[in-house]
């Protein structure tokens, strides 16, 4: 078996992503934990790049850095302890969570190694990104159509669940108070 530069890079990324992922549970700071996870995802993104999936690789890096930047805010806000200066544990029921983690890893790892993967039929097109675009717009259009309502529902559910004051608090019972009554000024239309 010849070990090419790409192979070395791939294994390096694999190790970095697993180690950084494990660090999430080791470090004593929400910020460090979140950004350890971000590093882990970036390593996964680079691994995807090395597999020739350029678009998936870049988009994983893009999305995950952004999500982690926002998630750090949530972690700091909602974990009920000091987020940086005290020893902390990111797991509940320590022993069973370790067992569950190791078990899942072994199961999935064994699956990946033991399953007889089919050999490739045909070759990928030169430009996988535009192939993806065409797939979204043509053969997998149903995915695209389903995504719209799903995302709208996500926005609505997210807002309903997270906001403390809603339209009746802001605009009055008849929704006719202008400008809206908000604790903080600013925004459009005032």
């Amino acid at each position: 078996m010849n070990l090419s530069l790409v192979d070395v890079g791939f294994w390096l990324c694999a190790v970095v992503s697993v180690v950084a992922g494990a660090l999430v549970f080791y470090v004593d700071s929400m910020a460090r934990a979140t950004y350890a996870l971000a590093v882990s995802f970036v390593a996964v993104g680079v691994a995807l790049l090395l597999m020739g999936q350029a678009y998936m690789g870049v988009i994983v890096i893009l999305m995950m850095v952004m999500e982690m930047a926002v998630m750090a805010v949530y972690m700091v806000m909602f974990m009920g302890m000091n987020p940086a200066l005290m020893p902390m544990s990111m797991v509940h029921s320590h022993r069973s969570s370790i067992a569950a983690g190791v078990g899942t890893f072994l199961l999935l790892g064994a699956g990946a190694v033991l399953v007889p993967w089919p050999t490739r039929r045909g070759a990928p097109t030169g430009d996988v990104t535009s192939a993806l675009g065409e797939a979204i717009m043509e053969s997998h259009m149903i995915v695209m159509i389903a995504m719209g309502p799903v995302m709208v529902a996500t926005i609505v559910a997210g807002v309903v669940l997270s906001s403390h004051r809603t339209r009746y608090d802001r605009l009055g019972d008849d929704l006719d108070r202008r400008p809206a009554d908000d604790p903080q000024p600013g925004g459009v239309g005032r």
Binding site: I59, L62, V73, E134, M137, S163, Q184
Partner: protein, 113 residues
Amino acid sequence: MASLLFLLVASFGIVLALRVLARWTAVSASPFEVEPWLSGHPPTEHALSRYHARWYTASVVFLAFDVEMLFMYPWAIVVGHLGPGAVVEMFGFLLMLLLAVAWARREGAFRWA
């Protein structure tokens, strides 16, 4: 990929070089430790704490909306030859999302809590 890696190393190399150079040029290389800047007062507590970000609802809307970019880039390069159908679909989709944004605005999602 290789050139990107090289650039990454080179640019962090420059930063490192500046840091090393500064050890030379600075009046003293050993850092000193101070309390944070509070207009000349000592701190009553550590600043690192459960910080209340008052725009969390907006960030929820953002996280939902930005998933859309996943489709936007591949779509952008094929729309030219896919024709009007692709335009109608994508912008119908975006219109739906923008309506959700307009609704979220009425709920005060973009205001400080």
